[in-house]
Amino acid sequence: MAATGATSAVDTAAEDRRWLVRALVSRIVLYGFLALTAAFFALPMAWLVLAPFEAHPTLVAGLTDPTLQNFKAMFDNPSVRGSLLNSILLALGTMAVVVASAALAAYALSRARVPGRDVILYILLLFSSVVTGSAAMVPIFLLAYDLHIINTLTGVALVLAGGLLPAAIFILKDFMDSTPASYEESARVFGASPFQILRHIVLPLVRPGLAVIAVWTIVTVWGSFLTPFILLQDPSQQPAAVEIYSFYSAGGTANLRLISTFGLLYTIPVVIMYLVVQNRYGFRFYGGLKR
């Protein structure tokens, strides 16, 4: 009895040691892999942050000759300033159209008893990817041309808004569905009109939803290239995303000084917005919301 007890204790100790070694090795392998992956994605980031301050940037990330000349050169370039302003106007304009229309449409869809409402919504959502997709570019171009909104920021904002609205309505309707009916009923008994109910009660309650849509619209428009590229011919109208495309010499070599500096500047608003929204509403772009 005692002998077998001792043997099994030894066995257990040996087994424990083997288990520890195995765990350690698998940890080392895992962390090594993670470090490599992180480096792979971190290097371009490092380049993006460092290259604008480099007098003669190459494709190697590093800071050998720090300078602010690149920024000065960029801001002296009028088309750069203009393109950033265009991007801001375009993003804010589209955001205004999307938030206002989505709020009204989502409220109506959330409250009205329309037969086949959910089917309508899903079809809209499906088509939204078509509207701003490359397949529809020719008809959209012709439509914009006939409506005389070609070569205007308004036209681009409307087309972009059209593509974003279905998803925005879909998201916002979910928020509105979750506000209790008794809130609105009590307001109705006090004599509030539907518009007053929307403004006083529903919109304040779905503010996180409105914020999601506003930020998502701005970020999407900020980064959209194809629609403005096709609908705007006048270089003075181009937004930043299209402007970057012109930082090549006639021979096709990239102007790394301009591209890196402009790239950094172009990224900053999106990062700031992410941080602000994260702070105020505590949501991530994936995952849930806290109200």
């Binding site: 008794s182 006090f190 006083h200 309650l205």
Partner: protein, 381 residues
Amino acid sequence: MAGITVAKLTKVFPNGVRALQEVDLQIADGSFFALLGPSGCGKTTLLRTLAGLEAPTHGTISIGDRDVTRLPPGARKVAMVFQDYALYPHMDVADNIAYPLKIQRMGRGPRRQRAAETGAHLGLEGMMDRRPAQLSGGQQQRVALARAVASHPHVFLFDEPLSNLDARLRMEARTFLKRLHSDLTTTTVYVTHDQAEALAVADRMAVMDRGTIRQIGSPVEVFHRPANLFVASFIGNTPMNLIDAHVVGGLLRIGDDTVPLPPNTADAVREGEPVVLGARPEYVALRPGPVAGGVRSRVVITEHLGTSILVDLESAAGPLQAVVAEDEAPPLGSEVWLVVALARALLYAKESGELVGAALGGPPTQRTTAASTATLPGAAS
């Protein structure tokens, strides 16, 4: 100030449910009227139709001398307090109370001033800047009341306003509501599924079942003379004993036992007619030995109710219940004879379920009123 007249009100929902069937109702100006019934009986639908949140299929509603049947909710001069209070979470207490005034286009300063005054009247001093989420259930309920009061309605509509409060708070809130009503004397319609609550707060009440009104009367009338078997079994803390019997030779035959007819009911029944004898467990007595007019039964279970004891009995006529004083519980398994207090007994026709006779004729006397209030405190537990 206005009374309410409801005529032939029918509500059929799109899915075919008939929530209200030809309901006729008169609610006197300034009264506190309770609509009582089990869930699904149509009481909330009736209230929502009064508010204008549901459109009736047929029938008319008048508030005061105005026909409001087709008016939108906001034009009816009613205020409704919802079961979940429907306080706006993004507004502070003052803005919540002042919301009806905002709709009436009163300026921000004056309306917050009025809200503070109304709130103070309802015991909400010093809470005007808080959000609803920072208040207790009882305080939230008073904010909802204050909001209704601030809108100066002709009629208050309450949809189970106490059901989200715990038992002790509910008693306080009940008294509070009653006092508020006696201060304001605004016509109040109060929906509840709790019969004790309806008996306690209302000066008149209607008992509803499956879209129809089964009885209208004062709480005392409804408690002492339930008009039919439905009301009889619905009203009361402990369910009324409903004992099947036959009229044989001017007496009630219950199994092998014979019980005299309650006074003043002999003319209302025919020889051989099947009837149901109704006797509340509080209105029966237990005797240890055989007595004339007693129903022989056996003690199965006893339950302590605090100041009294509920005794479950088995008899040839089926299960029976009796409430006895706390030190008079008969031993389990013993044989007892249940004696009905005939002066309070009720007699129903077996077939129609309608009241055919009761010892207490007409409006109950002062003595019975005192007796009914004496039984009420236990009602809330």
